[in-house]
Amino acid sequence: MRSISTPKLIAIIVVLAIIAVAAYAILRGGIGGPETIKIGFFAPLTGPASADGIAARTGAEIAVEILNEQGGVLGKKVELVVYDDALNPDQAIAVSHKMIEQDQVVAAVSGSYSSTTLAASSVFDEAGVPLVVAYAVNPLITKDKQFVIRVGMVAEVEGRAAGYTAVNLLGARKVAILYIDNPYGKALADNAKAKLEELGAEVVFVDKFQFATDDFSPWLNQIKSIEETKGLDVLMIFGYYQHATAVKQARELGIKAQILGAEGFDSPKFIEIAGPAAEGVIIVTDFDRDSPNPLVKEFIKRYREKRGIEPDMVAASAFDAVMVLAKAIEKAGSLDKQKIMDALRGLTDYDGVAGKILRFTPGGNAVKELTLQIVRNGEFRRYGMITEEEIIVPSE
């Protein structure tokens, strides 16, 4: 019996597969209607960071709602094309390709963390599609890129502000830093440490932890020991809401120092997970719940209605990112990506929900006012504002 040889069989199957897929794709090819302006959006909608992803998406959706209520952009309705990156850089790259090649978005907004945004930014920059970063802080995201701009805080500024706050506002002389080992935490820790040392404070402890860490005792025990022997004024913890347990553990171990966090703690989930230990924690962020800006009040109202919980920095930033992008498209008067990018860079004085953006640096980072929020009675309230030029202007 003559049977077909295996190499032939392989070849046949492979060719058939290619033809099938290609035929299917080409015959059904064609992209969506020109009646809407498609804006891509990605965030961690699943996975351990999903609380932030969903919050960011909600913020973006509210912006789109308001825009469309007011007639859209350039006369057309705005359509948000949403993708989940599951906080996975590999997936962020995959959905970036999809947004650019398949959905052919005009521009996109990153509602995600630094790790994923960093990965995605290469894809967008190489493709020449504008990417507006809502809140990821790592400097490499915008560095040397032509098509990436950031409306949120950049690590250098946030870290500096943390250092400044600790020494000048909280009177600290001895500071400990515990940070998450990723582009967000590393960048914050480096900059905070630099500012602290510049202002003459002593950094008595620095160490890093992994995202999945739940038990912080190896570090907290050392920190406690330092507090007892040398003294400690401020403990900086740069992590996300998932690490609120570190705050709980710190208090239960008897650590008395003031705890200072950053935007990663700006979430109702942080307060939920830390429990009573959250009381009195101060964070550096840009979303001021007590802002007099009516846009902020409107945003908070709509968010509460949609989700039944308090909004946070990621939601506010995503909202601003979409709004800023819309403004730029209007200003550019066309969907030409280079023109949109130029319009973005030229924007000034946007009084947004996540703070006031004064202008953008040539490197694509926002010069914006920061706020300090403190947890009082289980809620974030304004503690102070930081508006000094020397702190808030990024060097790039």
Binding site: P89, H97, L140, K186
Partner: protein
């Protein structure tokens, strides 16, 4: 759900790359019977090697890929050595442990980008012409083709026979003169080499890689490709990669449940069709063969 040509190129590149990785797993596990639940680690070794050579030393892709293959082969043989005394579940656990240790090493050391990853990995070019989009996809498939030919050649050679023998019974193999030790090492080395080639292709395609791209869930994904497509055949590796990657693309709602799907598929296939859809002893392949044989026989 319609797919635009640009995105099709992206997808087919990814399919081809993972097919190569799965092919490696099929050799190690399907043919030689050595459990390997950490194939993604070898993909990572190849990817990192290629990325470092390209970004730090400006070596062209055409050098990076072969070197990545060699280094993966070497690391694979190390694991092979470790595996000599281990079997079945203990071996499985060891490979998982290896996967985790490899990514922790990537995470902790700057040369691998630590938590920032390695960016700016360039696409290959021929005489100044950059291979992107469909060209890169074509390149990936060409390399897959070469990998498949090599796999077939090895399979028909003494290596393939030795692998099959070891898979059946290690003691008997030893007694008839087959060095179980040598072939266990080879099984891992060759499988790892394929993984490394896949890694290099993926690294240059994505342009940016980071430690988490090679974590244990990716080993599970590759495992599911193997189990679904066929654990011991070349066509099985390709089919598996095609199915696992394309299914969530065609059925958009499935995207969110990818991990659920991989694990459910593994469970289902292990119960119903442990050799996979196109495995050597699979019924599907028998039927397809029968049809084609009838077809090519013609009137005789």
């Amino acid at each position: 759900m319609p797919i635009s040509p640009g995105y099709l190129a992206t997808l087919s590149t990814v399919v081809a790359s993972y097919a190569i990785a799965t092919l490696g797993l099929n050799i190690t596990m399907g043919r030689a019977g050595q459990v390997n639940l950490g194939q993604a680690a070898f993909v990572g070794v190849g990817a990192m090697t290629s990325a470092i050579l390209a970004t730090r030393y400006d070596l062209p892709f055409w050098l990076c890929l072969p070197i990545a293959a060699l280094i993966s082969f070497a690391i694979g043989s190390l694991i092979g050595v470790v595996s000599i005394r281990l079997r079945h579940d203990f071996l499985a656990i060891t490979t998982i442990g290896f996967n985790f240790i490899v990514i922790y090493v990537f995470l902790y050391y700057e040369v691998f980008g630590a938590s920032y990853g390695i960016a700016g990995i360039p696409k290959p070019s021929i005489m100044g012409f950059k291979l992107r989009g469909f060209w890169y996809a074509g390149l990936s498939w060409a390399i897959l083709g070469l990998a498949a030919l090599l796999a077939r050649y090895l399979d028909k050679s003494w290596m393939g026979i030795a692998f099959e023998s070891i898979r059946e019974d290690e003691e008997v193999s030893e007694s008839i003169g087959i060095s179980v030790r040598k072939f266990k090492i080879l099984a891992f080395a060759v499988g790892a080499m394929y993984g490394g080639i896949a890694g290099s292709l993926l690294a240059h395609f994505k342009g940016y890689i980071v430690y988490s791209d090679f974590s244990f869930p990716y080993s599970i994904m590759i495992l599911s490709m193997s189990i679904v497509g066929g654990i011991d055949t070349i066509s099985g590796a390709i089919a598996g990669s095609l199915i696992v990657i394309m299914l969530p693309e065609i059925f958009r709602p499935l995207m969110e449940y990818r991990m659920v799907i991989y694990s459910a598929l593994i469970i289902l296939m292990l119960f119903l069709r442990p050799e996979g859809l196109l495995g050597r002893r699979s019924i599907v392949l028998e039927k397809v063969r029968a049809i084609l044989v009838e077809g090519t026989r013609g009137e005789s």
